[in-house]
Symmetry: C2
Subunit: 578 residues, 2 copies
């Protein structure tokens, strides 16, 4: 990973490929790489879908090695949804394969003039960009099926569905899982629309003939990796809860905590929660011959993924994640796993973020487009997105635009990005993250649920404002660093609770790179990434006034705790004071 | 005008009316009143369609007097379109009538819970708020027809059409002209949606039994007014051009200057310009028994309005203004006055800003919804707005949202408000105003065309960046003051060129109020208003990054001058340094 490939889609005479040394980005990865390149090279005032924006794709620092859990791929750009800098990462096979091919980053820049559609083939032999208009408006599942006919099964695919081609602001970039299903998405912020604006439909990553990346000290790396895996296996969240029930283990937990946003954030408890819980889902999956335990990429030892079949045992979708089960489920008053799995498949196929899409459907329900709980109505709305009708384009633009177009006052967005599955009134720590992360509302940017609710890494009372800023600050710093390693964020549970597991991660990095990184160095990296991102946003015109939740979270209390969000503006403004 | 009436639409038990002394707002009017009340009472971070926003309606300082040209009514609020503070003013009868009734302002606040629709009756006997659900979804022409049956013809009406009820961000507030036609609109910024969010459909202003407001020194007032009128009559713009051809006199002028934005700002010359010019329009109006010379309110001595009939002599609409002829005409490649007049009528009827609506149709043409020049296609698109279909709701949300939803990169908006009828590349002074006014793109906020093109108030070369900041600064200050007097902005031509006419205006203010205002005092008032507005926007999160034109005005030169906008960011940031 000592080189960067730059693809200028707008070059005169057709796309131009150049390779350059990784230079200042050598030894970095993931979010550090994408945010630093965007911060350095992209005009923060550019149009997100214009020639001046760039799409940066980067494997993590340890992607492509034998290290466990190192399969996250980061995608960065200026976001058309939020107008901020954006890093969105996904599992699947892409990061490992790209790491092995040896690119620290793919930078896609410029914009072609015509309406030809392109595919990009990346291998150790180089990078080829070809027109392939036969792929136009194919959605992800049929698209990958078609590409497999040409490129086979020993590659990884990244792609956009019709939503990305249509430049919808909720559009995602799909990465294939080990079984070549386009189920792992860089979902948030409309990164798929940026890929679509470059007219790039698919990227084929082919590591044939490539080896695993070799550590500086192979033995020390193997040892550290073993300790790291042991730590993950012994922690109750990563060793038991996630493998058995997936992320959806959270439905019952959040519902019991009164922090499960129900029917567009009008209650903190969903009466139908048990029916769509991880426990119910795992039982159903097993009964139908699917799987409740599955890895989204090779080298995963947590295996929080799964396979959801219909009652006849036919594949419907991957196991929907907690966030998806919530957004298409409780948020819309829907308590039926079959409906949710169908919507999950549709989202993956069209290529839209399941959080943004589900929240949008709930906002549309508030606007009266269909009733809360209307399963068929929800499916009809997402079908509009697939068809690209005017209504579908509104919905595909996300919750904020849908709220504006239909005159809905109370729309759960920060920086125009939909809030995820945790109400910030009874769980104030996650509210601090939603409000202040440079990404727009994003739970993964500083997952305060860990400490507020799961009591991992300490215990901060979720109902009170005290301690939330410090909690979110530390989590945001740690996350920015972890997002750079290529490690799945779920390792955080173990490294927050088990000092020896955190040390094992640091040892892995040092053994691989021959460095002397310390815990302080990890913190410094996280701060550096956040600073670059904040600087971009500031230059794009964002101020502390943007680091707020929507007004109604301050004015409308929510049952059962009857609380409003009460972290003061002054405290929010101190999150990045370190 | 020594009292303010406050109507709380959200009071428990139904709307509550209270009256209070004008206090600190006594002696102010128009934009000074609306902006100062909004700045003081409205949380800049509130939702524009929420209970916390307020709609302030204020006649000008001299409205309701015998002074010529004093019939402008200001409406202020936080704008749902721009997110900034907003003042939008209109002619028609409302300001004079409200001034005579004696209210310095009507403040409509709160938000009722149900979906009842209200009308408000204002007279010297007091203010009555009544439910009238029979008015639901009536558009402005049939609405006023129905209200005239109840309240007669000796009142002035303010109202919203279906667009305002549907909370569309392009929605306007209509004021009736002397013939009770709902043709004079507070158009910009979605003020009609704010009225709609309060569930107020119509305001009936009844000055029966009220007298003209009495000046402090009647004789001096009469003298000053006479000199003021003389000045207007002798200036070529207000004494000849505007009465003969209306504002549309500008089409040929701008086309010749190469600053007429054609087909969504892709050329500065429209080959069909002559066919839709003010000269052609006046000839057609006269031939068809309409009128090329008409006043929008009693007391107008310029008479720039007119009546547009169809070929059979039947009323179609008021004479479309230059901005409307442009937005629905050249901007969309349409060179047919009948089509434009029909669209003008539709906009007035639905209750949408003709600038925002026409620009939006042009953006939709860029998106491929119909071809440039397609007359029937343009009408069909606006019919969608009237029907409130999903497509209509997109379009009714304005150019910015339409561009986002359809993935159009080059959308002419500043702070999400559509640019008016002057390209800022060959006319750099107006670009400074578009970029920096607290209102979002707005030509009236600092009409640099006067000096750049018409050579009124001096001569600043439109093609060069030099001198534009000073020009726009001075005009923005003067405009903020004029918008507070209740005077039609068109008086500016005469007062910029003729010192004695400016003095006559100051003399009118002093004779009326018994004050000793000087030219410096007028400037101070303008600066104060702008400062209040800038402060609001800053607290709402706006920064200098928002005081920019869209990127493509800096990167894409336009024919025939092949220029980009070249005023530097540093210069733009100095506009409000005084």
């Amino acid at each position: 990973m000592d080189k960067i490939v730059r693809i200028n889609m707008g070059a005169a005479g057709g796309p131009q490929v150049t390779t350059e040394p990784a230079g200042e980005f050598a030894g970095l990865g993931g979010r550090a790489t994408t945010s630093m390149i965007i911060g350095k090279e992209v005009n923060p005032l550019c149009h997100a879908l214009g020639a001046e924006n760039k799409l940066v794709i980067a494997p993590g620092m340890l992607s492509g090695t034998s290290g466990a859990m190192s399969g996250r791929l980061s995608v960065g750009c200026k976001s058309p949804l939020t107008g901020t800098i954006k890093e969105s990462n996904a599992g699947g096979q892409a990061a490992q394969v790209l790491g092995r091919i040896g690119y620290a980053a793919i930078i896609i820049e410029g914009k072609p003039a015509g309406d030809d559609l392109y595919k990009i083939h990346v291998s150790s032999a180089g990078v080829k960009v070809e027109v392939d208009n036969s792929l136009k408006l194919l959605d992800n599942y049929p698209l990958i099926e078609k590409l497999r006919g040409q490129y086979g099964d020993k590659v990884a695919y990244m792609s956009i569905g019709s939503a990305g081609e249509r430049l919808m602001h909720a559009a995602s970039i799909a990465c294939t899982d080990p079984e070549l299903r386009p189920t792992r998405h860089c979902g948030r912020g409309g990164v798929g629309a940026v890929m679509g604006s470059k007219r790039v439909k698919a990227i084929i990553l082919d590591d044939s003939g490539c080896k695993q990346r070799a550590p500086h000290d192979p033995e020390a790396y193997r040892d550290a990796n073993r300790k790291f895996v042991e730590g993950l296996r012994k922690h109750p969240v990563t060793g038991e809860g996630l493998p058995a029930y997936g992320t959806n283990v959270l439905t019952n937990v959040l519902n019991e905590a009164g922090g499960y946003p129900t029917r567009n954030f009008t209650s903190g408890v969903f009466e139908g929660g048990a029916k769509i819980s991880g426990e119910a889902q795992a039982e159903l999956e097993t009964k139908r011959g699917g799987s409740a335990t599955h890895g989204c990429h090779r080298g995963c030892v947590i295996q929080c993924s799964g396979i959801f079949n219909d009652k006849d045992g036919n594949y419907v979708s991957k196991q929907p994640e907690y966030e998806t089960v919530w957004s298409h489920g409780g948020h819309c008053g829907i308590d039926d796993l079959d409906t949710i799995a169908k919507l999950d498949y549709m989202d993956d196929n069209i290529g839209v973020d399941t959080i943004e899409m589900g929240v949008t459907v709930g906002v549309a329900m508030t606007a009266g487009l269909c009733e809360f709980g209307d399963r068929e109505g929800a499916i009809r709305l997402v079908e509009e997105v697939a068809k690209g009708t005017p209504l579908g384009r509104i919905l595909g633009s996300g919750a904020g635009t849908t709220g504006k177009v239909f005159g809905v006052e109370k729309v759960p967005v920060v920086k125009n990005q939909a809030l995820p599955a945790y109400d910030p009134r009874p769980i104030q720590g996650i509210g601090v993250t939603y409000a202040t992360t440079p990404m727009g509302a994003d739970h993964t940017a500083g997952y305060a649920i860990a400490t507020n609710i799961l009591k991992v890494g300490g215990d901060v009372d979720p109902l009170k404002p005290e301690g939330q800023v410090e909690l979110s600050r530390n989590l945001q710093i740690a996350t920015a660093a972890i997002d750079s390693t290529g490690m799945c964020l779920f390792i955080a549970f173990a490294i927050m609770d088990q000092p020896e597991t955190f040390q094992a991660l640091i040892d892995m990095l040092n053994a691989f790179y021959g460095t002397n990184l310390t815990a302080d160095g990890v913190v410094a990296l996280g701060k550096q990434v956040l600073s670059v991102e904040r600087d971009f946003n500031q230059r794009a015109g964002f101020t502390k006034a943007d680091d707020r939740l929507p007004r109604y979270f301050y004015t409308d209390p929510i049952a059962p705790h009857n609380q409003t969000f009460s972290v003061t503006d002054e405290d929010l403004d101190s999150v990045f004071t370190w």
